[in-house]
Amino acid sequence: MIRVEHVSKSFTLHNQGAAVIPVMRGGELTVARGECVALTGASGAGKSTLMRMIYGNYLTASGRVMVGDLDVAQAAPREILELRRHVLGYVSQFLRVVPRVATLDVVAEPLRAVGSNEAEARARAGELLAQLNIPERLWQLSPTTFSGGEQQRVNIARGFAHPYPVLLLDEPTASLDATNRATVLALIEDAKARGTAILGIFHDEAARDQICDREVDVTRFTPGLAA
C-alpha cells in the first residue's frame, strides 16, 4: 500500500544564508496490507520527515511516494486531500486543536468527512474516547485546555475513528500510562488484523517488538551517514 522509491529531501533555509540541509537520499520503503513497519534511527535521522513526506505534509524533492495508486510526490493538493479523507490516516505527535470545537466532534470529524451519518459518527467517537479513558464529562469541551496526555489520546481516537487502509503513527504511545498504552497497542493490532498497512515510529521498544513485523532504519538514507 505504501511504496517509497528512491526519495530525496533537503531543507533550504533562505533566511539563514540559504543554507542547504540534506536530510534524505535514496530513501526506500514498502508497507504491505496488514503489515506494520517501524521506522528506526537516532533522533534527527529523518523518521518524522519521511513520514511527513508520505502524508504530503513535506515536499519530496525527487523519487516516488506511492500510496495506493497515487504518487504523493507529484499529486495536486485536492488529490492529496482526497487520499487523506479516505485512505491515508496520520496520528501526529501533537494534536492541533481547533478552537471551540468539542472533543467529541474533533474525533467524529474524519467520519463526517467520508459521509457517515451524524449518529454513527458520534457513537464511534464516544466509543473510542471511552476506550481511551477520556471522561465523558469532557467530551463536550474543546480539548484546548486538556493535559498533554489527554490531548494525545484525543488525537489517537481521531486517527482511529475512520478505518483508513493506510495509517501513519508518529510515537503514538509516548507519555501514555500502562493502561492507555495497552489500549493503543490493541487498537493497532485490530487495524492490522483488518488489513491496514501501518507505518510507525515507536521509541517504546517493547511496543515495537510486540506489534511491528519489520524495521527500517532511516539512518541508511541519511546523507553523509550511509555506509
Binding site: 533555509l13 533562505h14 533566511n15 511527513r52 505534509n57 515536499l59 493538493p77 485536492r78 471551540r100 463526517r112
Partner: protein, 256 residues
C-alpha cells in the same frame, strides 16, 4: 472534473504600479483557497479582479456557469456579470459596513438578497431570513434591529448570512476576521468552517493571518509585490515552505 474557476495569467496595474500580475490557478468545486501575503502584496486587487469589481489589464477569469459551462467573466456583458454576482457568487468584505445596508433591519439585509434573485413571497422571505440569522447565531428577536446596533462580530455574521442566503457556489472573502477580537474571530471561523463544509462551498479567502488559513483553506497561495511566490497544500506550505518570503512569513508568527 471541470474547475469552477479557471484563472489565466491575470494582471491588474494602477498606472505604472503593479496591483497583481501573472496569476494563474484552477479552483475546483468544494475547494477553499487561501491567499496570504503582507499588506500591499496585491491580495485585495486580485480578489476584486476575480470577483468582477476591477477589470484586469490582461488575462481570463473563466467561471463554470450553470447554463453554458466555462465563460470568461472579463469579457461577458455587465448585466450577465451582475447576475452571476447575485446568484452564484458572494463577497464578504472586511468591513461589514461595506457589505451591509446599515439603515435596513437585519432581516431586511438578508431578505433583500433573496428579492434580488426574484423571491416575492413575504412569509417565505421572512422565514428564510429567520433561519439564516439562527445559522449565524444571531437571536431571532434581533431581526428588526439595524446592524448599526450590533457588535462587530455580529455585523460580520450578518454579512455572512446576507451573502449565503441565496446559495452561492463561490464565496470571495477579504480579511473576514480582520479587526475582530481574537475570541470573536474564533467563533466566526468556526461558523465559516461549518458552513463551507455543509454547503459544499468553494471559497477564496484573503487574509494576512496564517492561523485563519490553517483552519479554513485546503490550498494556499502566497503573494509578494503583486506576484505569486508559492502555492500548495495549506499544511505543506506552512510546514515546509520553499520560498524565502514564505519562510519569513511562517517564522515571524509564534504558533500557527
Amino acid at each position: 472534473m471541470t474547475p469552477l474557476l479557471q484563472v489565466e495569467n491575470i494582471a491588474k496595474f494602477y498606472g505604472a504600479r503593479i496591483g497583481c500580475t501573472d496569476v494563474s490557478f484552477d479552483l475546483y468545486p468544494g475547494e477553499v483557497m487561501g491567499i496570504v501575503g503582507e499588506s500591499g502584496s496585491g491580495k485585495s486587487t486580485l480578489l476584486n479582479t476575480l470577483a468582477g469589481h476591477l477589470t484586469p489589464d490582461r488575462g481570463a477569469v473563466r467561471f463554470d456557469t450553470r447554463a453554458d459551462g466555462l465563460r470568461d467573466t472579463v469579457t461577458m456583458s455587465e448585466p450577465e456579470r451582475r447576475m452571476l454576482s447575485r446568484t452564484d457568487w458572494a463577497f464578504v468584505h472586511q468591513h461589514a459596513r461595506d457589505g451591509l445596508r446599515m439603515n435596513v433591519s437585519a432581516g431586511g439585509n438578508v431578505g433583500e438578497r433573496l428579492m434580488a434573485v426574484g423571491a416575492r413571497h413575504y412569509g417565505d422571505i421572512r422565514a428564510s431570513a429567520t433561519d439564516w440569522l439562527g445559522r449565524v447565531e444571531i437571536n431571532e428577536d434581533r431581526i428588526d434591529d439595524r446592524p448599526s446596533a450590533f457588535s462587530g462580530g455580529m455585523q460580520q455574521r450578518l454579512q455572512i448570512a446576507r451573502n449565503l442566503v441565496t446559495g452561492p457556489r463561490l464565496v470571495f472573502m477579504d480579511e473576514p476576521t480582520g479587526g475582530l477580537d481574537v475570541s470573536v474571530q474564533a467563533r466566526l471561523l468556526d461558523l465559516l468552517r461549518g458552513l463551507v463544509r455543509e454547503m459544499g462551498l468553494s471559497a477564496i479567502i484573503v487574509t494576512h493571518d496564517l492561523a485563519v488559513v490553517r483552519l479554513l483553506a485546503d490550498r494556499l497561495m502566497v503573494m509578494k509585490d503583486g506576484h505569486v511566490v508559492e502555492t500548495g497544500l495549506t499544511d505543506q506550505v506552512l510546514d515546509d515552505p520553499q520560498h524565502g518570503y514564505t519562510q519569513l512569513l511562517v517564522s515571524s508568527v509564534l504558533q500557527v
